[in-house]
Amino acid sequence: MSPRAAWRLESIGFGRVYDYTAGKADWGSFGLPLEGQRPSTTRVGAYTRGDVPTCAPTDRLQEVCDRVEAAGWDTCFVVNAQRVVLGRLGRSALSARRDVTAEEAMSAGPSTVRPSFELDKACARMHTQNLTGLPVTRSDGVLLGLLRRAGSD
Protein backbone atom coordinates (compact mmCIF):
# COMPACT_ATOMS: atom_id res chain seq x y z
CA MET A 1 0.00 0.00 0.00
CA SER A 2 2.71 2.50 0.92
CA PRO A 3 4.57 2.15 -2.44
CA ARG A 4 1.39 3.23 -4.25
CA ALA A 5 1.02 6.13 -1.85
CA ALA A 6 4.64 7.14 -2.40
CA TRP A 7 4.23 7.15 -6.18
CA ARG A 8 1.03 9.13 -5.91
CA LEU A 9 2.73 11.76 -3.77
CA GLU A 10 5.47 12.07 -6.36
CA SER A 11 2.91 12.55 -9.09
CA ILE A 12 1.32 15.32 -7.05
CA GLY A 13 4.63 17.13 -6.91
CA PHE A 14 6.45 16.11 -3.74
CA GLY A 15 10.16 16.00 -4.47
CA ARG A 16 11.52 13.92 -1.62
CA VAL A 17 9.28 10.94 -0.89
CA TYR A 18 10.43 8.08 1.32
CA ASP A 19 8.65 4.76 1.63
CA TYR A 20 8.98 3.02 5.00
CA THR A 21 7.71 -0.27 3.63
CA ALA A 22 8.27 -2.27 6.82
CA GLY A 23 5.75 0.08 8.43
CA LYS A 24 4.36 0.19 11.93
CA ALA A 25 4.63 -3.59 12.36
CA ASP A 26 8.40 -3.18 12.14
CA TRP A 27 8.35 -0.07 14.35
CA GLY A 28 6.39 -1.85 17.07
CA SER A 29 8.46 -5.01 16.86
CA PHE A 30 11.46 -2.98 17.94
CA GLY A 31 9.64 -1.77 21.02
CA LEU A 32 9.43 1.77 19.67
CA PRO A 33 6.52 3.87 20.92
CA LEU A 34 3.19 4.03 19.15
CA GLU A 35 0.38 6.47 19.83
CA GLY A 36 -3.35 5.92 19.60
CA GLN A 37 -6.39 4.48 21.29
CA ARG A 38 -5.01 1.01 21.81
CA PRO A 39 -3.27 1.19 25.16
CA SER A 40 0.30 -0.09 25.45
CA THR A 41 -0.84 -2.26 28.36
CA THR A 42 -2.41 -4.64 25.83
CA ARG A 43 1.05 -5.41 24.46
CA VAL A 44 3.78 -7.71 25.68
CA GLY A 45 6.30 -4.89 25.83
CA ALA A 46 4.58 -3.29 28.81
CA TYR A 47 5.28 -6.36 30.97
CA THR A 48 8.72 -7.37 29.74
CA ARG A 49 11.34 -7.81 32.44
CA GLY A 50 14.54 -6.35 31.03
CA ASP A 51 16.64 -7.52 33.97
CA VAL A 52 16.53 -11.22 33.08
CA PRO A 53 20.05 -12.69 33.39
CA THR A 54 22.13 -13.34 30.30
CA CYS A 55 25.45 -15.01 29.68
CA ALA A 56 27.85 -15.67 26.82
CA PRO A 57 27.97 -19.10 25.16
CA THR A 58 31.51 -19.64 26.43
CA ASP A 59 30.70 -18.88 30.08
CA ARG A 60 31.06 -21.81 32.46
CA LEU A 61 27.73 -23.16 33.57
CA GLN A 62 28.63 -23.31 37.25
CA GLU A 63 29.59 -19.63 37.31
CA VAL A 64 26.38 -18.76 35.47
CA CYS A 65 24.36 -20.77 38.00
CA ASP A 66 25.89 -18.83 40.90
CA ARG A 67 25.15 -15.50 39.22
CA VAL A 68 21.59 -16.39 38.28
CA GLU A 69 20.82 -17.76 41.73
CA ALA A 70 22.26 -14.69 43.44
CA ALA A 71 20.04 -12.48 41.28
CA GLY A 72 16.96 -14.48 42.33
CA TRP A 73 16.18 -15.91 38.90
CA ASP A 74 15.66 -19.46 37.68
CA THR A 75 16.41 -18.91 34.01
CA CYS A 76 19.12 -17.32 31.91
CA PHE A 77 19.44 -16.52 28.23
CA VAL A 78 22.57 -17.30 26.27
CA VAL A 79 23.27 -14.39 23.95
CA ASN A 80 26.03 -13.39 21.55
CA ALA A 81 27.92 -10.09 21.59
CA GLN A 82 25.03 -8.38 19.80
CA ARG A 83 22.62 -9.72 22.44
CA VAL A 84 20.94 -12.01 19.93
CA VAL A 85 19.33 -14.98 21.68
CA LEU A 86 21.13 -18.26 21.03
CA GLY A 87 19.51 -20.38 23.69
CA ARG A 88 18.08 -20.65 27.14
CA LEU A 89 19.22 -22.21 30.39
CA GLY A 90 16.13 -23.38 32.23
CA ARG A 91 15.68 -24.75 35.72
CA SER A 92 16.90 -28.25 34.91
CA ALA A 93 20.06 -27.03 33.17
CA LEU A 94 20.83 -24.61 35.98
CA SER A 95 20.19 -27.12 38.76
CA ALA A 96 22.42 -29.75 37.13
CA ARG A 97 25.45 -27.43 37.53
CA ARG A 98 27.55 -29.54 35.17
CA ASP A 99 31.13 -28.58 34.34
CA VAL A 100 30.34 -27.47 30.80
CA THR A 101 29.88 -24.23 28.89
CA ALA A 102 26.56 -22.44 28.71
CA GLU A 103 26.36 -23.32 25.03
CA GLU A 104 26.70 -27.01 25.80
CA ALA A 105 23.99 -26.88 28.44
CA MET A 106 21.46 -24.57 26.76
CA SER A 107 18.28 -25.41 24.89
CA ALA A 108 18.80 -23.81 21.50
CA GLY A 109 16.36 -21.61 19.63
CA PRO A 110 13.64 -20.83 22.17
CA SER A 111 10.36 -19.54 20.81
CA THR A 112 10.16 -15.75 21.09
CA VAL A 113 7.60 -12.96 20.74
CA ARG A 114 7.88 -9.30 19.75
CA PRO A 115 7.10 -6.50 22.21
CA SER A 116 4.17 -5.46 20.01
CA PHE A 117 2.60 -8.92 20.31
CA GLU A 118 -0.82 -8.89 21.98
CA LEU A 119 -0.61 -9.78 25.65
CA ASP A 120 -3.68 -12.03 25.74
CA LYS A 121 -2.31 -14.12 22.89
CA ALA A 122 1.04 -14.43 24.65
CA CYS A 123 -0.71 -15.53 27.85
CA ALA A 124 -2.76 -18.07 25.93
CA ARG A 125 0.40 -19.45 24.35
CA MET A 126 2.06 -19.81 27.73
CA HIS A 127 -0.97 -21.60 29.15
CA THR A 128 -1.32 -23.90 26.15
CA GLN A 129 2.37 -24.80 26.01
CA ASN A 130 2.76 -24.79 29.79
CA LEU A 131 5.54 -22.19 29.66
CA THR A 132 6.66 -20.13 32.64
CA GLY A 133 7.78 -17.29 30.40
CA LEU A 134 8.40 -16.10 26.88
CA PRO A 135 11.55 -14.33 25.73
CA VAL A 136 10.79 -11.00 24.10
CA THR A 137 13.02 -10.03 21.21
CA ARG A 138 13.15 -7.45 18.49
CA SER A 139 12.61 -8.69 14.94
CA ASP A 140 16.39 -8.94 14.51
CA GLY A 141 16.62 -11.40 17.40
CA VAL A 142 18.03 -9.01 20.00
CA LEU A 143 16.80 -9.86 23.49
CA LEU A 144 14.66 -7.21 25.20
CA GLY A 145 13.67 -9.29 28.22
CA LEU A 146 11.30 -11.92 29.50
CA LEU A 147 7.53 -11.99 29.82
CA ARG A 148 6.86 -14.04 32.95
CA ARG A 149 3.64 -15.96 33.20
CA ALA A 150 3.01 -14.93 36.80
CA GLY A 151 3.50 -11.29 35.98
CA SER A 152 1.23 -11.26 32.96
CA ASP A 153 -1.75 -13.28 34.20
Binding site: R8, L9, R16, Y18, Y20, T21, G23, F30, L32
Partner: protein, 68 residues
Protein backbone atom coordinates in the same frame (compact mmCIF):
# COMPACT_ATOMS: atom_id res chain seq x y z
CA UNK B 1 11.35 7.88 -7.72
CA UNK B 2 10.35 7.18 -4.09
CA UNK B 3 13.21 6.03 -1.88
CA UNK B 4 12.79 2.91 0.24
CA UNK B 5 13.73 3.73 3.79
CA UNK B 6 14.43 1.74 6.95
CA UNK B 7 13.64 2.30 10.59
CA UNK B 8 16.92 3.95 11.50
CA UNK B 9 16.62 6.42 8.64
CA UNK B 10 13.05 7.20 9.66
CA UNK B 11 14.23 7.95 13.19
CA UNK B 12 17.03 10.13 11.88
CA UNK B 13 14.79 12.15 9.59
CA UNK B 14 12.25 12.65 12.36
CA UNK B 15 14.98 13.63 14.81
CA UNK B 16 16.24 16.22 12.37
CA UNK B 17 12.73 17.65 12.41
CA UNK B 18 12.26 18.00 8.69
CA UNK B 19 10.27 14.97 7.67
CA UNK B 20 6.50 14.80 7.43
CA UNK B 21 5.16 11.42 8.44
CA UNK B 22 2.01 10.07 6.79
CA UNK B 23 0.15 6.86 7.59
CA UNK B 24 -1.91 5.78 4.58
CA UNK B 25 -4.02 3.12 6.30
CA UNK B 26 -7.76 3.63 6.91
CA UNK B 27 -8.72 6.04 9.70
CA UNK B 28 -9.75 3.36 12.21
CA UNK B 29 -6.39 1.63 11.95
CA UNK B 30 -4.62 4.96 12.38
CA UNK B 31 -6.77 5.73 15.43
CA UNK B 32 -5.84 2.38 16.93
CA UNK B 33 -2.12 3.06 16.81
CA UNK B 34 0.32 5.06 14.72
CA UNK B 35 3.86 6.34 14.80
CA UNK B 36 4.33 9.41 16.98
CA UNK B 37 3.73 12.59 15.03
CA UNK B 38 2.15 10.88 12.02
CA UNK B 39 -0.88 12.30 10.29
CA UNK B 40 -3.43 10.13 8.52
CA UNK B 41 -4.26 10.37 4.85
CA UNK B 42 -5.79 7.06 3.74
CA UNK B 43 -4.54 5.88 0.37
CA UNK B 44 -8.04 5.98 -1.10
CA UNK B 45 -8.29 9.71 -0.41
CA UNK B 46 -4.70 10.67 -1.19
CA UNK B 47 -4.86 13.56 -3.67
CA UNK B 48 -3.87 17.20 -4.09
CA UNK B 49 -6.64 18.37 -1.82
CA UNK B 50 -5.94 16.05 1.11
CA UNK B 51 -2.19 16.67 0.91
CA UNK B 52 -2.57 20.44 0.73
CA UNK B 53 -1.48 20.82 4.36
CA UNK B 54 1.86 19.15 3.62
CA UNK B 55 4.93 21.15 2.60
CA UNK B 56 6.00 20.23 -0.94
CA UNK B 57 9.57 21.26 -0.16
CA UNK B 58 10.06 18.99 2.83
CA UNK B 59 10.61 15.24 2.83
CA UNK B 60 7.55 13.02 3.24
CA UNK B 61 7.69 9.54 4.74
CA UNK B 62 4.75 7.26 4.00
CA UNK B 63 4.05 3.97 5.70
CA UNK B 64 1.29 1.42 6.24
CA UNK B 65 1.29 -1.73 8.39
CA UNK B 66 4.00 -3.78 6.70
CA UNK B 67 5.18 -4.93 3.29
CA UNK B 68 1.72 -5.95 2.05
Amino acid sequence: MPTPIGRDAVKRLLREGQAQLVEVLPADEYADEHLPGAINIPLKSLDRETTASLDLGRPVIVYCYDYQ
